[in-house]
């Protein structure tokens, strides 16, 4: 089987890269384990939220002064703005409706009611452009009875701290009560799966209309729409006040929906998505990678002109650590990491942890290095890259998306 490009990893960056290449007629195969950190997404994309503890208002401006080791420098600082625009287009082409701007962060609302800087936020989620001009004065915070993955007391307090008046209102419907008999059903994804019929949605809207009182906006957990935003739109149409969703603890319905939409678009463009498979090893010829093997296609190596490593960080097993070292497990390419394990972490769970900055080493073309020499046709994108702390900087999804598009461009340009 010969491809133009084989991408290892089917998360946000792998898909964005695959779509970008497939759109230009390339034959692309993605090898995807089926898991993704979008499972923990809050309905937003972040370009750059925070540098050295300082909140960023204008990401484009701040990116220029990031240290040279940051992956954005490998995208090319002068190209960030145009690539960011292409990402927005990629989302809208995939049917994902988001709003935001690369030169002015807005605020997303976390499950704990904290406002965090964001670049793009789903249109059905609560978004605040200006903390001095809230989109509503009084919120009816609708809490699903028996659903514990929205920390209601914290969310309400957080919203009040932002200046909203908040009425916490518990509600249920017959459909929800029936689900509650099995505790494992009270997860966001199973609620989203079951609350789809017109009748079920009508019963929820009836509750909103009865209980929301004099609030001027209804807020509820993001447990709707496993495939698209039509369930939300049905609910909004039947609710007599503006309705917004707020992110929950994992699983994230919004994140999984976005992945589904991106996958669907990629396949529509002719891409091949090998779901539930994992890359195991590669064969090199000099400074080129010639093929990879996967768990399911053990006796049929995947050959391609170009390869992309989009396997994610430790959490996605794109990086591994054992008692003594940090390594990249599939191809054994070079990593940037402290040799002394004592340096990987530090006391204080909320302190910056060095391991977050570890990842595969690349040249300025995002090409992976092996024993210090670039592999000509192997690029790394997304969370597997070294050089930034996605949690502290609020740039994880941005790095995934921008390096994905940049790598796709480089692959085409180097042809």
């Amino acid at each position: 089987m010969r491809m133009d490009t084989v991408i290892m990893g089917g998360g946000l960056s792998g898909l964005a890269c695959g779509i970008s290449l497939a759109k230009r007629g390339k034959r692309v195969t993605i090898v995807a384990s089926g898991q993704s950190t979008m499972f923990f997404n809050g309905g937003s994309m972040e370009l750059l939220g925070c540098v050295n503890g300082k909140t960023i208002e204008n990401p484009l401006e701040a990116i220029a002064s990031l240290p040279e080791s940051h992956p954005y420098h490998k995208v090319g600082v002068d190209r960030i703005a145009s690539i960011a625009e292409r990402v927005k287009l990629l989302f809208s082409d995939s049917g994902i409706d988001m709003t935001g701007s690369a030169n002015a962060n807005h605020w997303r609302i976390t499950p704990m009611g904290i406002a965090k800087p964001a670049w793009l936020t789903l249109n059905d989620h609560l978004r605040i452009d200006d903390l001095n001009q809230l989109p509503a004065k009084r919120l009816a915070l609708m809490c699903i009875r028996g659903y514990f993955d929205q920390p209601n007391s914290m969310l309400a307090q957080g919203l009040r701290n932002l200046g909203f008046e908040v009425d916490m209102i518990e509600f249920t419907t017959d459909d929800i009560t029936a689900l509650r008999r099995s505790p494992s059903e009270m997860r966001a994804t199973s609620l989203a799966k079951h609350l789809v019929s017109n009748n079920a949605l009508q019963r929820i809207a009836d509750q909103f209309n009865n209980l929301a009182g004099n609030a001027d906006m209804v807020l509820m957990p993001s447990v709707f729409g496993q495939s698209d935003s039509s369930d939300f739109q049905t609910l909004q149409a039947r609710t007599n006040k503006p309705l917004r969703l707020v992110a929950t603890l994992p699983p994230s319905v919004a994140g999984m929906r976005m992945m589904k939409q991106l996958r669907h678009y990629f396949k529509m463009l002719g891409g091949t998505y090998l779901m539930g498979d994992t890359a195991l090893s590669g064969t090199f010829d000099g400074d080129r990678l010639t093929s990879i093997t996967t768990a399911k296609l053990a006796d049929m190596p995947l050959k391609a002109d170009n390869f992309v490593l989009a396997t994610g960080s430790f959490i996605s097993r794109g990086l591994k650590a054992d008692f003594e070292r940090v390594y990249e497990p599939i191809l054994g390419v070079d990593v940037d990491a402290d040799a002394d394990p004592e340096q990987w972490t530090r006391f204080g769970v909320l302190q910056p942890q060095a391991y977050f900055g570890y990842g595969v080493a690349t040249d300025n073309q995002l090409r992976c290095l092996k024993q210090g020499k670039p592999i000509q046709n192997l690029r790394a994108i997304g969370s597997v890259l070294s050089g930034h702390d996605a949690v502290k900087m609020g740039d994880g999804t941005g790095v995934s998306l921008l390096t994905a598009i940049a790598a796709a461009d480089q692959i085409r340009e180097n042809k």
Partner: protein, 547 residues
């Protein structure tokens, strides 16, 4: 009784230390009709009680080297099976001989066990492998003994509950700052209420020092010297239960030679190092300790090499030098009870120390005998026969297949025995699960908060096992924190508590932060910082440890 009233009363006896020994002594004193106050500087069972294997020794481990301890163990072992059956899992244990060990030792071992009254059956190595498939298949010898697994948190709480049911008062987060001494007589304690900073004095006729390794400091406050030799032991908890029986090495006690199944996980330990008394509060586990534990653990059960380690922890055994040898050369693991009137001319103070978690009841009995001798109380000890609350003869059995228990109810009965009946289940939400790994319901959390002295998530973990299972509180800690915020109306405190809980968990994960443990850590950071922004809601600078 409200706390301020507790301060005003004068007691027959104040017990210092809320570990198993203190709790056992409080129960015994209360059952003999004494008025009792127990004070603990942190949460109950935060010292050596909560920092061991959770092994209910048969005594076999000590049979060759310390026959007195061995006899004590087997006798207490049989008692605990009766009085604390809801805290005990009757797993039995194996003592295995590996090719690197001397098979001759097995004979010495079996004879010593028989001498101490411990059942010890030599079985075929292959049979051992078939009844315990996790054991190293290269074993060349195996002996089956009546070891078992015990939950020390549950055991301590059951003793405290029974003490309270018999009139005792108990206070956690109350630190002894000094003793009230009047003309060579101890007449009470000076306390700091660590939750509000208040200083109070409470009077009693006798004070029992049951503070474990910290007992040396308590004695110093009375001007009395006890030479303790802190022995530190580190342990590792693995992410699932690979073994169903306790597995020991059949050789002279050494590092990391016991693997114990505890509920849904298993624990390997321990190392053993003498440490200076000044460092007993430093519970950090080192890389060297982890290395030893892993290397030795894999010899016992090879599958540990590929099992996720969920955390590392360390405890300090309070070993005591015998009075006729202050050099410390002859240190006993046995029980030491000192009447400071006889020893030091100081009336009203008794120290109970040494021993082991599983001989806590006997230690409580010995201390109570000493108290009663002073107070002229002649009531007999009944703690060996009277079941602890939760283990009454008619207590429900979680394994009873004829009952239609839900997962949460079954788990709660396992944890609380007959006391599970106190958990609310009238409301349809009370049965909802907060912690899926351990089956903890909303009702059980309410019960713990209202009746088991729970002030924070770490307390809650010790009482209910919330967050103790395979996922280590990844999501359930947030659910529980939000519920506690609702119960007490203080959301900010609930968030700080959640951050402190995660920090406490990180302390245990950090020494083993590689492989899947590092993945779990990254996942936690992504959820609580990346997704939720908890780091922006709380300020952890300068926070004291919440234990």
């Amino acid at each position: 009784m409200v706390t301020s009233d507790i301060y005003k009363k004068e007691y027959d006896v104040i017990i210092v230390g809320g570990g198993a020994t203190g709790a056992g002594a409080a129960r015994d004193c209360a059952l003999r009709g004494l008025s009792v106050l127990l004070v603990e500087r942190n949460d109950y069972s935060t010292g050596a009680t909560g920092r061991n294997h959770g092994l209910m020794h048969s005594g076999a481990r000590y049979a060759v080297t310390d026959s007195e301890s061995a006899s004590e163990c087997i006798s207490e072992n049989m008692i605990l099976r009766r009085i604390a059956r809801h805290c005990v899992e009757e797993t039995d244990g194996l003592f295995i001989t590996l090719p690197e060990d001397d098979l001759q030792y097995q004979q010495t071992f079996v004879e010593a066990c028989k001498h101490a009254g411990i059942r010890a059956d030599i079985i075929d190595p292959q049979e051992a492998h078939s009844i315990e498939p996790a054991v190293n298949p290269k074993l060349i010898g195996a002996v089956r003994v009546p070891d078992a697994s015990i939950d020390p948190f549950r055991l301590t709480v059951a003793n405290l509950l029974d003490a309270r049911m018999h009139g005792a008062e108990t206070l956690n987060y109350h630190e002894v700052e000094g003793l009230i001494i009047n003309q060579n007589r101890v007449e009470g304690v000076k306390l700091l209420n660590k939750r509000n900073g208040e200083h109070v004095e409470v009077h009693s006729r006798v004070v029992v020092n049951a503070a474990g390794i910290w007992g040396q400091r308590i004695a110093q406050q009375a001007g009395v010297n006890i030479s303790m030799f802190p022995a530190r032991g580190a342990l590792l908890i693995f992410g699932h239960r690979v073994n169903n029986m306790v597995i020991n090495r059949c050789r002279k006690p050494a590092n990391a030679d016991i693997l114990v199944p505890d509920d849904t996980v298993c624990v390997i330990g321990t190392t053993s190092d003498r440490i200076p008394i000044e460092t007993v509060d430093d519970m950090r586990v080192t890389r060297e300790e982890v290395d030893i534990l892993l290397k030795e653990g894999v010899k016992i059960a090879p599958s540990l090499a590929t099992t996720r380690i969920i955390r590392a922890y360390a405890g300090v055994r309070p070993l005591v030098a015998s009075d006729d040898d202050p050099s410390g050369r002859s240190i006993s693991r046995g029980i030491v009870c000192l009447d400071h009137a006889k020893r030091d001319g100081l009336e009203g103070l008794i120290t109970i120390t040494g021993g082991k978690m599983m001989t806590y009841r006997l230690m409580g009995e010995i201390a109570t005998n000493a108290v009663c001798a002073k107070l002229g109380n002649t009531a007999p000890c009944v703690t060996a026969n009277q079941p602890l609350p939760g283990s009454e003869p008619d207590a429900p059995d979680q394994r009873d297949a004829t009952k239609r228990y839900s997962f949460g109810q079954r788990a709660a009965i396992g944890r609380h025995g007959s006391l599970a009946a106190r958990i609310e289940k009238d409301n349809d939400i009370d049965n909802a699960l907060v912690c899926e790994c351990e089956g903890v319901t909303v009702g059980e959390i309410k019960y713990a908060v209202h009746q088991l002295h729970v002030h924070n998530l770490v307390n809650l973990r010790r009482r209910t096992r919330v967050g103790m299972g395979t996922c280590q509180g990844k999501l359930c800690s947030c659910r529980a924190a939000s519920l506690m915020g609702e119960f007490n109306g203080n959301v900010k405190a609930a968030q700080e508590d959640l951050a402190a809980f995660l920090d406490e968990r990180w302390k245990g994960m950090r020494p083993v932060a590689w492989g899947d443990t590092l993945r779990e850590a990254q996942l936690t950071s992504m959820i609580y910082e990346g997704l939720c922004g908890l780091d922006m809601a709380v300020n952890m600078e300068g926070k004291e440890d919440v234990q």
